[in-house]
Amino acid sequence: METFDLGVGSAFWLMNASTLLCVVYGVINWNKDKEEKVLNTKSWDKDEARINKDL
């Protein structure tokens, strides 16, 4: 890796850093969201005719 120039070296480390970012973000936010109950997905098919009509 010492033979990488600045452009390729930047890509290499940014690639690893962005993977780390994904991992850290995923771990921190694993169970953080509390809003799922706001939208009831189970009603989709039941409500399809009404939503189509409204639109």
Partner: protein, 546 residues
């Protein structure tokens, strides 16, 4: 083929069949069939997204390009992870999911159409997918079939037929549930194969630092010596021609970026990195996956899995691709990868057969077939829903009780078209090989401004969205047909009409269509939206409020 290989193939097919059956049993409504019921596990969702994104072309094609052009391709991996996973999941995923639920949207064109209350947008999006995705699908189909033919020594047409029937079976029966479950299995196979490959390649070239250090020496010994050669004296398409061409384009070594703003720099950054890396944000078959999970938590968890998966795919294959030059130099009489394998597309298969043990060649074949199958199944599903739900149902009227049947019929029609293209073009003409880039450029410049504006800009209007899509279509088509050095030449219309391969000359012809069309398409969306009447508060409330 020995007994063990036979048993493994039968087990693999049996598991695929079982997962397709599980999808079938769990599919009871349109929502189940089109968006997997909106309750997919994050592991399945992330692997399905990644496995759909990474096709055989990404592993074999781009791996070969890395052997040719070197580690500058790592910019694409960075873009794949940061834009294709982090930005996509963190910033687009949840707004897409929530708007999809509010508007009861089951496909990407349906989401856009309902956001702007426009049948035209949904039908236009559906037609675009139904028209261009079969070319892209046939390229993946041809690539996957060719590996089966090469390994098992069977007839191409028979292999294509069997391969297509297997995928058709679980897509048709299991819908998106079946597709995503099989994608997850195939993603695991791909991940394991790539990890083994990385370890074995570093071992073969003497370690990480030693391998990369030797790359510079191999460039100096096998490529730098071509510096005094004239490109016209070399046979077009030959390995030395390709390496000399890369030097003329500004490449200076496999561990170095090409000269800033040279043809090579423009090709790597605009066509490869941005064309594919940004284009992924507006891929219909990927966007629909955001609608398959029940909460933001699933998306957050999928970020972790997706990021690791993508670096294990493109990160590894690009590094391995460039390091094949070291292996060939040391074990094949001082030749580089292209000189040894004979062509860019041949490097990875040749390397696997020449450098790896036979047991790994079999595992790698499975990974490649899995990559092809996971991409194809999602393409078939997206094309079928586009022609069935977005085009046919919109033209004949609203959804009926036959909605599922219509979608399934659409899938069968689109599979027949894709397989027919693969039969017709079994020699994979250049236009088929370029279809991935064409589809990515079209999706980015046509869908991306409308998708972003639809999610985040309430002032964006229906007229602004339609104008943006039309401008994106016109500019991208013009650039592909008459300017870009690869597509314009291979499509041949420019030559036929004007007697030249491209209407422009110089470095501009190396700039990807998306780089030109996307800003113009976005600008059109902004200007036309500001000049037209805002959408009704009723529609905005439906789109943005729970």
């Amino acid at each position: 083929m020995n007994m063990l290989e036979n048993i493994i193939i039968i087990i693999y097919l049996a598991v695929l069949g079982y997962l397709g059956f599980v999808g079938y049993k769990q599919t009871k409504s349109s929502a189940d069939y089109l968006i997997a019921g909106g309750n997919t596990h994050p592991f399945v969702m992330a692997l399905s997204y990644g496995a759909t994104f990474i096709s055989t072309a990404a592993i074999v094609g781009f791996g070969g390009v890395a052997a040719w052009l070197g580690n500058s391709l790592l910019w694409l991996t960075f873009c794949n992870i940061f834009v294709g996973v982090f930005i996509a999941f963190v910033f687009l995923g949840n707004p897409t999911r929530k708007m999809g639920i509010r508007l009861n949207a089951h496909t990407f064109p349906e989401l856009l159409g309902r956001r702007f209350n426009s049948k035209f947008i949904q039908v236009f999006g559906g037609i675009l997918i139904a028209f261009f995705m079969p070319l892209y699908a046939s390229a993946v189909l041809i690539g996957g079939t060719e590996f089966i033919v090469a390994y098992f020594k069977v007839d191409y047409h028979m292999a294509l037929l069997v391969f297509s029937i297997i995928i058709t079976g679980y897509v048709l029966a299991g819908g998106l549930k079946g597709v995503m479950l099989t994608d997850a299995l195939q993603g695991v196979i791909m991940f394991v194969a790539m990890m083994i490959l990385l370890v074995m390649v570093f071992d073969a070239v003497g370690g990480i630092d030693a391998g990369f250090s030797k790359l510079e020496m191999v460039w100096n010994k096998t490529v730098a010596s071509l510096g005094s050669a004239n490109l016209k004296d070399l046979k077009a398409g030959s390995p030395d021609f390709m390496m000399k061409l890369s030097m003329n384009w500004g490449f200076q070594g496999w561990n170095k970026m090409p000269i800033f703003l040279s043809e090579g720099w423009l090709f790597v950054i605009t066509t490869i990195t941005m064309g594919v890396g940004i284009g992924v944000l507006a891929q219909p078959q990927l966007v629909v996956r955001f609608m398959t999970v029940k909460s933001k938590n699933e998306l957050n968890r999928a970020v972790l899995i997706g990021g690791v998966f993508i670096i294990a795919m493109t990160g590894i294959v690009f590094i391995v691709g460039s390091l094949t030059n070291v292996w060939y130099y040391e074990f094949n009489e001082g030749k580089n990868a292209l000189q040894s394998a004979g062509g860019v597309g041949k490097v990875i298969p040749h390397f696997i057969n020449a450098a790896m043990p036979k047991w790994f060649a079999f595992i790698f074949l499975f990974a490649l077939i899995s990559a092809a199958m996971s991409t194809l199944s999602s393409q078939f599903h997206a094309m079928g829903t586009a022609i069935g739900r977005d085009v046919f149902e919109q033209i004949v009227g609203k959804h009926t009780s036959n909605s599922l049947l219509i979608t399934r019929t659409g899938i069968v029609i689109m599979i027949v078209i894709s397989v027919s293209l693969a039969y017709l073009f079994d020699k994979q003409p250049a236009i088929i090989a370029r279809s991935t880039a064409i589809f990515f450029a079209l999706c980015a410049s046509i869908f991306l401004p409308v998708y972003f504006g639809g999610l985040f800009w309430k002032r964006m209007t229906q007229k602004g969205a339609i104008a943006s899509m039309v401008v994106g279509t016109v500019i991208t088509t013009f650039w592909l047909l008459f300017v870009h050095f690869q597509e314009a030449k291979e499509l041949g219309l420019c030559k036929m009409l004007f007697g030249v391969n491209s209407l422009l000359s110089g470095k501009i012809i190396f700039v990807d269509a998306m780089i030109v069309a996307l800003p113009l398409s976005a600008l059109t969306a902004v200007v036309v939206s500001l000049l037209t009447k805002p959408e009704s508060s009723t529609l905005l409330k439906k789109c943005f409020e729970n």
